[in-house]
């Protein structure tokens, strides 16, 4: 019977082509608008490391002694000493310290002028922890972290700009006033969001687009970066004036992030205990006033920081409201379309069609309208995403429709049309055949 309903559905579309076109257009516009914003939402709110994110944790201790903070909770970063203490204890399977700065960079053996590039100073495990892909070479060795080795990993984009994209491993690059040797070149890599750099998102009043910027161009060992680029590290938060402004190692400031990888619940429990013990120890030493600690998984940390920009959330709600309006329009148009064919439905009922059969026929016709609307919605979504890619937003280049969202476009179109078709189909199935036979 389904094949018969499909056949009738397609035939039904050709009856009243103007109404059909209006319905397809209404669904296409609604789907196009909602899928454009939903795709952006999906890209911005997805898990940046599926399968691994549950084992990655962001560690915090409350080193700020200020008594006046209403929300007594650890600040979003660590002070230098706490960060180095926790990292040096090696209580996690893998761990990575991170600090950000911007550095002047140029290839020492090339003739081009210097440029300013974002730099991440981190520890060797960073690359393995976060599945960072390499095109040439690899990460530096763990000894390089403690030896403050003058080595670096550069991004694919910087390698293209400085060396024309060739294998530059072993070449020298000048960072500020220091020469460092390139040990690795990353393959193109675009995590969304730039999760390891997420901090203080909940204070940004929804303006979190910067969390979706491209990754850094230069990666150096943690201490190497601090030596080379001291005075340029951002962001930081201080609770007292700095003895020597810009030099943060001994300042009453937080500016270092610590990520740890923990394989199972036992390790997580142990690490929590370790953090608590450390905070208490520091309190007893007089360095900490408060002993609060926090250990959140990557996804918890992203939620905690409200990473999805509020304007994207608002746009999504508006788009869905628009889809609802389109849905209501489609319901009205379907009611008109089916009402016009009451005579046919009455006749079918007289000839033996059950109410269920007429209902199914109408729903299949609605679904056919939904599929056509889905094709239109898909094209409008592609156009919408093309427009977004031309906006000056940090996440603009991410706006592409993946296979999952493509399928979802058609599922949503189908669901919308079926929902729109429910009431008209129900009414069509309940026509009194005797009353309608004269209407054919």
């Amino acid at each position: 019977m389904f094949a018969y309903y499909v056949q009738l559905g397609w035939r039904g579309l050709r009856q009243g082509p103007g109404l059909t076109a209006l319905m397809v257009l209404a669904i296409a516009v609604g789907i196009g608008a909602s899928m454009t914003t939903l795709t952006v939402m999906h890209l911005l709110s997805g898990d940046p490391l599926p399968g691994r994110s549950a084992h990655l944790f962001y560690a915090q201790v409350d080193s700020d002694p200020s008594p006046h903070r209403a929300d007594r909770a650890p600040l979003d970063m660590l002070d230098y000493r706490s960060a180095v203490d926790l990292w040096s204890a090696h209580r996690a399977e893998r761990q990575a310290l991170i600090v950000n700065s911007t550095v002047k960079v140029r290839a020492s053996d090339a003739g081009r002028s210097a440029e300013m590039a974002p730099m991440l100073s981190t520890t060797a495990s960073f690359f393995a922890m976060f599945d960072v892909p390499f095109r040439y070479g690899g990460a530096w060795q763990t000894e390089d972290d403690t030896d403050r080795a003058r080595v670096a990993v550069i991004s694919s984009a910087l390698n293209q700009r400085l060396f024309g994209g060739v294998n530059s491993v072993g070449r020298i690059v000048r960072l500020r006033d220091a020469d460092v040797r390139i040990v690795g070149v990353l393959a193109p890599w675009r995590p969304s969001p730039l999760f390891y750099d997420v901090r203080a998102g909940r204070f940004s009043q929804g303006d979190t687009a910067d969390f979706y910027r491209a990754p850094e161009d230069v990666y150096t060992p943690f201490e190497t970066g601090i030596e080379i680029n001291d005075g340029n590290f951002l962001p930081f938060t201080c609770w007292a004036s700095q003895p020597s402004p810009g030099h943060l190692q001994s300042a009453p400031c937080v500016w270092v992030g610590l990520w740890v990888e923990l394989a199972n619940d036992v390790q997580v429990a142990r690490y929590r205990q370790f953090l608590d013990d450390y905070a208490k120890q520091q309190q007893s030493l007089g360095r900490f006033v408060y002993t609060g600690t926090r250990l959140q998984t990557l996804m918890q940390w992203l939620d905690f920081n409200h990473v999805v920009p509020s304007d994207v959330r608002l746009q999504s709600w508006l788009a869905f409201a628009f889809l609802a309006v389109c849905l209501c329009n489609t319901i009205g148009l379907l009611l008109a379309k089916f009402l016009r064919r009451s005579g046919e439905f009455g006749l079918r009922r007289a000839l033996g069609a059950s109410r269920r059969a007429v209902f199914a026929q109408c729903l299949v016709e609605s679904a056919a309208i939904g599929l056509l609307g889905g094709i239109g919605g898909w094209l409008l979504t592609l156009a919408g995403l093309w427009l977004i890619r031309r906006q000056p937003a940090a996440y603009a280049d991410l706006a592409h429709l993946d296979a999952g969202m493509l399928v979802f476009t058609f599922v949503l179109a189908l669901l919308t049309s079926l929902l729109a078709g429910l009431l008209p189909a129900l009414r069509a199935s309940r026509v009194a055949p005797a009353m309608q036979l004269k209407a054919l």
């Binding site: 019977m1 018969y4 035939r11 050709r14 009856q15 005579g343 046919e344 006749l347 079918r348 009922r349 007289a350 000839l351 033996g352 069609a353 059950s354 109410r355 269920r356 059969a357 009194a432 055949p433 005797a434 036979l437 004269k438 054919l440």
Partner: protein, 235 residues
């Protein structure tokens, strides 16, 4: 075949209850050709709608082919309509955007008949009504008489036990009406049970038996002048 006993059908509003049929009894035996006559508003169409299970009665009993169908649910009534009843309407009631073949196919589709059997059956009934050459024509491309023959083919396609015809020649000129009537008589001669509602005394006279309805009641029944009565009207 069709037996209605003390059947009633009323329409109730807030202030008044109007009877379309009252204490209506009729018995049509297998193989009979019965004409139901009466003035406009007498209840003929209501009778036909109830007989065709398109409406329900408000009282009395209705047996069709030995089964009490007065209290059946909608699905069961649809099944019986599809399996046992063939309709022929005054306005032909063909679906305008389906061709002749597909129009005749409609009741067979709801019977979930295999495609090959449907094709064979449609070919046979269109052959019988003389329209096998017009299978791919649309209703608008046919004359009124041809459209009514398509409607008869559609009614016959499911081999119903009962044919209900509502003014089957009402929209036709006299020549086409004669041809359609001849076809109905041929179908009856082959053993079909036919109940025909008509205003036309000439048509009624060609049935085996006439049932006259006034104000929702059977008031007169008798042998049609030209045909031998072979059944008793009341059960």
């Amino acid at each position: 075949m069709l037996k209605m006993t003390h059947l009633s059908k009323s329409f109730r509003t807030e202030v008044v209850e109007t009877y379309a049929l009252r204490d209506f009894s009729i018995h049509v035996r297998p193989g009979e050709f019965v004409a139901v006559t009466g003035p406009s508003g007498s209840g003929k169409t209501t009778f036909l709608n109830i007989a065709g299970l398109l409406e329900t009665s408000t009282g009395g009993t209705y047996e069709l082919d030995g089964e009490d169908v007065s209290k059946l649910g909608d699905d069961a009534r649809s099944r019986i309509r599809n399996g046992k009843i063939g309709f022929i309407f005054q306005a032909f009631n063909l679906i305008p955007d389906l061709n002749v073949y597909d129009n005749v196919d409609v009741p067979l589709r709801y019977r979930r008949m295999p495609g090959a059997e449907r094709k064979k059956r449609i070919g046979e009934v269109l052959e019988r009504v003389g329209l096998s050459a017009r299978m791919r024509h649309y209703p608008a491309e046919l004359s009124g008489g041809q459209q009514q023959r398509v409607a008869i083919a559609r009614a016959l396609a499911g081999s119903p036990k009962l044919l209900l015809a509502d003014e089957p020649t009402g929209n036709l000129d006299s020549q086409m009406a004669r041809a359609v009537m001849q076809l109905l008589e041929d179908i009856h001669r082959d053993g079909a049970t036919i109940v025909m509602v008509t205003h036309d005394p000439e048509l009624a006279a060609r049935a085996q038996r006439n049932v006259h309805v006034i104000d929702g009641q059977v008031v007169d029944l008798g042998e049609a002048p030209t045909l031998r009565m072979n059944a008793q009207a009341m059960g």
